[in-house]
Every structure is written in C-alpha cells, then in structure tokens.
C-alpha cells in the first residue's frame, strides 16, 4: 500500500506544472540564468568603473606640484578645466554638479610640513554613495605611490639605501606559515557551506509537495476519501512522507547538478579541474559520509512539513505556517559557519548546528567518531520521533476535520 500511495503521489506531482517549475526549471535554468545575468552585469559595471577616466581638480595645487604632475601623467585621470562661466563657481559646486568626480584638497601648508618632516593631511572629496565607486581606491593607490617616492627621497638624502630604509619603516616582518593540511583548510571552508547550501534546498524541495499532499488534499476533499479506505493511516503517512523525501533530495540534487553544469559551461575545463581537485583533496568517502550526515535532517524536515501541512486547513494556511521555517533552519547553520565554533559535546546537543559542524569535522578529516556518531544517531532519533508524531497527528479527528 505504501508503494501504491508513493507512486500515485509522485505521478501527480510530476504532472503538476508548478512542481516541475520548482524542482527542475527553477534550479536548472532560471536560477543560474538569473544569478549569471546579475554576476555578468555587476562584473561589467565594476570593470567599467575601474577603467573609467575620472575628472578631477586639485585644490592648493601649488603646494603639491610633483603630485599634480604624477596625476596628469596617469591616463585614467583627467584634469577638469573650467569654462569662463564655471570659474565663478567653487570646486564644491563643481563636485555637486558632477563636473568633477573628485577634488583632492592638498594641505595649504604641505611644503613646510614636508620640510619639517611632519605629516601632511590631504582630503579627498567625492560622492561615496555609489557602491561601485572606485575613486577612493584609485586615488589612494596614487597617493601611496607618491608617499613611497617621498620616503625614498628622504632616506636617500640621509644616506640610507633601499633595504635600510625598509628596515627603519618596518623593522619586523611577520610571515604566515600555515601548518594546516590542504584538506583541513578546504574542509573547514567547505564544511559549513555544504550544509548551508544543501539543507535549505532540501527544505525548499520538501515544502511545496508537502503542502499539496496534506493541506491540498484537505482543500480538494480527497483526504476524506483516502482515510475511509481500509489502508492503515501509517501506510498513508509513510507513502506521503517518502514522496516528500524524494522531492526534497531531487531538488537539492538538481541544484547541485545545475551549479556544476553551469560552472562547466561558463568556466569550461577550469571548473572541472576545480571539482576534481576538491574531490581529490577531500576524498570521495569523506564526502559521502558528509552527505550521509545530512540524511536524518532531511527526514526530519520531511516529517515536520507533512505534520504542519496535515494540520493546516488550506493551501494558504499551510504556506503561512511554512514561511518562518526557513529562518529557523538558516540561523543554526550560520552559527556553524562562525569562526572558532567546533564540534564538542556542548554543540552536539544543538540540532542542525551539530550536523553542520559534523560535516565540517568529517571534511577536515579529523573527526571524533563517537561524537559524530552521537550526532547522527540523535538526528535519526529526532527524525523518527517527528515521523511518529506525524503518524499520531494523522489519526486525530481534531487535526483532520478542523
């Protein structure tokens, strides 16, 4: 009977255009197209901004003639030459009117500060509201270059060579020597992200069919026909539960497949090499183990959304209940991504976070089998309890005939 119910639910879902859109078209075509377009447009915008010639004006130019010369020599900057009418306005007005992209206000005592070896404070005036603005970084680079030139000249005058003045400026250089193995670093980086990407996807893949299989059946009046058959309520719940688990995994699988596919299309061989490198470093067995860790959570989600859906009177009511679930799932996953949080007996009791931390430990290749085993078994127990609750829930008249 479970098989009969499962196959019928699956057939009905596959014939539903909305399901196909959510499970196949959205992850395989629409999401990548959307994200790809946004990425390409954003990239182009940033590139345009980086290469755009910036109009500028230097206030107190006579104090920094050398710098003005350096700026003029740079093709990416263009000195603003005001017309006769524009000369009546102040440089603040030029800036507001967009005649110039920035004004560099040199200290009016710069020359004397230079001679007395004191710091000179210059101001860069520009509109920083645009997120893509490159004014600060581009001018900063040029000022840094000029700074180095002045410093070098001053040390030369004191008779110090290049290496000596580097020693004066920065007597100690701290070098980073990472003893972490490549697998450990990659595991830490990818561990949190894998759970963060896959679990919400599984939840999304579970929600829509769950609403259809519970509240949807109530709304269409088919649930009553179903519960008066001799089929045991446990079989009905299991049939529906397995359907939700299947769609949940399919949705996550489709999205991951889509990422790989589009990664390959966009980056060609580079993406394949990167994937091969990651798989080689992390190891196929550890990656499989990490995915096995996620199974009980998906089972728990599936039972939970089915219980909620059975309780709801209508499709709309079920959607309202499901909304906050995504936040409840993402919050514990974010905790697992925070630096310094590792799996221990304290975190092992926190649902979802413990699974994400276990995935991280497994991919790092240094996991405590007892601790990870405890997390997995506790999640399996939670999933089974949730499923048992859903079965109990499905027998209640007050739930079925609200």
């Amino acid at each position: 009977m479970i098989k009969t119910i499962f196959l019928k639910e699956l057939l009905e879902l596959l014939r539903d255009k909305k399901t196909l859109v959510f499970m196949v078209v959205l992850p395989l075509l629409i999401f990548p197209a959307l994200f790809g377009t946004v990425a390409v447009l954003a990239g182009k915008q940033v590139q345009q901004e980086q290469t755009r010639v910036l109009n500028y004006y230097i206030a107190n130019e006579e104090q920094a003639a050398d710098f003005a010369k350096l700026m003029k020599a740079d093709d990416s900057f263009s000195l603003f030459e005001p017309s006769a009418q524009e000369q009546n306005a102040t440089w603040e007005q030029w800036l507001r009117a967009g005649k110039v992209d920035f004004v560099l206000a040199v200290s009016d005592t710069h020359q004397s500060e230079l001679e007395q070896h004191t710091q000179s404070h210059w101001q860069l005036h520009f509109n920083n509201a645009e997120l893509t603005s490159s004014v600060w970084s581009r001018v900063y680079r040029l000022v840094e270059k000029f700074n180095q030139q002045i410093t070098s000249d001053k040390f030369n005058a004191l008779g110090l060579n290049e290496s000596q003045y580097q020693g004066v400026i920065q007597p100690i250089v701290l070098e980073k020597k990472d003893i972490a193995k490549k697998k450990e670093s990659l595991g830490t980086q990818l561990g949190g992200i894998i759970a963060y990407i896959i679990l919400p996807l599984c939840l999304m893949g579970a929600i829509y069919p769950a609403i259809d299989l519970g509240a949807g059946e109530k709304e269409h009046g088919t649930l009553e026909s179903l519960i008066i058959t001799p089929t045991h309520s446990v079989a009905i719940v299991l049939g529906k539960f397995l359907t939700i688990v299947t769609t949940s995994f399919t949705c996550a699988f489709m999205t991951v497949l889509s990422l790989l596919l589009w990664g390959f299309i966009f980056a060609q061989a580079l993406a394949v090499e990167a994937v091969v490198e990651i798989v080689k470093t992390l190891g196929v067995i550890d990656m499989m183990l990490a995915l096995v860790m996620l199974i009980p959570v998906v089972l728990f989600f599936s039972a939970l959304v089915l219980a909620i859906s059975i309780y709801a009177r209508s499709f709309k009511e079920a959607q309202n209940y499901m909304g906050p679930l995504t936040i409840l799932v993402i919050a514990p996953l974010v905790i697992a991504m925070l630096p310094g949080i590792n799996l221990d007996w304290q975190w092992a009791w926190v649902p979802i976070t413990n699974v994400a931390l276990s995935v991280k430990e497994i991919l790092k290749g240094q996991f405590d089998l007892v601790l990870v085993g405890f997390v997995w078994l506790s999640q399996v127990a939670m999933a089974m309890l949730m499923l048992a609750f859903t079965m109990f829930w499905f027998k209640r008249e007050a739930v079925l005939f609200r």
Partner: protein, 260 residues
Amino acid sequence: MIKVEQVCKRFPLKDAKRVNQLNQSDPRIYGRFFNVLDNVNFSCQQGEILGLLGANGAGKTSLLRILSTALSPDSGQVLYQQQNAHQFKATVRKKIGFLSGSTGLYDKLTGLENLQYFAKLFGMDDEQFEASLANLNQALDMGDYLNRRYQDYSTGMKQKVAIARAVIHQPDYVIFDEPTTGLDIAACEVVLQFMAQLKEQGKAVIFSTHHLDEVERLCDRVCIIERGKAVFEGDLTQLKQSANESTLQPAVLKLMQSSR
C-alpha cells in the same frame, strides 16, 4: 443491516466569540462544546434505501461521517451485521462505500487512474477491478471520458466518477451525502437510477438529501435529524400520518418545527 445505537458526538468550540453568539440561541452548546449528535438511533436493512432528512447544520454530515468511520462517536455504536464499525475499521471499511458532500478526486489523474488507485487501496486485483469498472461504466454512463484528466470534467461527470469511486469495491453498504446536489437533470436521473439499482442488488443505501421528490421516488424509510436528534424514523406513510399531513413537505416541516 446497519444499526445506529445511541450515537453521541460533540466538538470543542475554540472560538470564544462564536460560543457567546451561539449560546443564546442554540441548545446544542454546552460550555465550550457543541453537541452535534445526541443519542441518535436508527437502522437500515439490506435491499432498503433510507433517506436522511434535516435542515442545514442539523448534523447529517457528521452522522454520515460516523457511519463511514471517518469520525468516531463519543458514545454509542454503529453496527454493520452486528460488527462494531469503529472497533473493526479495516474489515468494515471494505464493506462500506461512502461519498461525502465535499468528496473530490485527484485533478491531475484521469478518471480511470483515480478509480484504479482506490481499487488498489481497497485491495482489489486487476481482474476484480475490470469487472467492477465494466458494470459501473454501464450503470453510470461514464463513456470514454474516463481517460481524460479529472480536472477537465464537468460537475456531472465529476460526480459520476466520484460515485463510481465510492462503490468500485462493490460494498454491501452505500452511504451518499447529497449525491445529486449541483447536478443537471440528466446526470441527476442517472444517479437516482443507479441508487435504485443498488437497492435491487440487495445493498443497504443511506443518503442525505433536501429533495423530497427523490425521497418519495426512492426511499423505503426516512430518518429526520433535527438539531442533532433523530426526531422521526419510519416509512413515508407513517411520516405523513404522524404529522397529520397528506403530502411530504408539510409533514417534514411540521415534524422538524415541533421538535424545536
């Protein structure tokens, strides 16, 4: 034979505002509960059609749901051939065919797939299903539209397939909740003729309706439910006599009003 003995059912009222509104007029409100059925008794023999009459909200649908085992009574019992329906649900359900007023079928499946699905849930094999389907196809005049998706059906076609779904497993007891509501004359005639056939086949048929012409045409006996109580059970002659009326409509109205 179906025997309903001292069946009582109450539902909790969760909406306090509604409780206060109802409290003033409806005697079925008891604290935070609504007594939907109060000590209901009646029976229906094999080869007999019993009509369930009553105003909207009288408790007919809840009673039929209890008969179908979708709901359980708080007290009392429903016996099918001396077998308690709510103690032996799985066995009894195989013998009951129930069509509720809100029954729908699966939109994305064809009529045939819907019937096949329910036949499997009732434990029928392919051979039994084919035989049953052939009979129903002829009786309900379903034609070749069974291969189209349920969502594409007209109201009449939907109701015919829904009735076929309810009796695909050849039950001994058939319970219909307002089976002709919303149907056109032709579809209505098919359903009424089908119910007469069920009676001829020796099945016990209980159906609720507001159409007294259907009652006069089909019913051997009637049971009137008024505010959760069975206020009359008997044949149509007894009904008219007890109300001292010559026609059915004033008789039913009189009995309903006198019990308020």
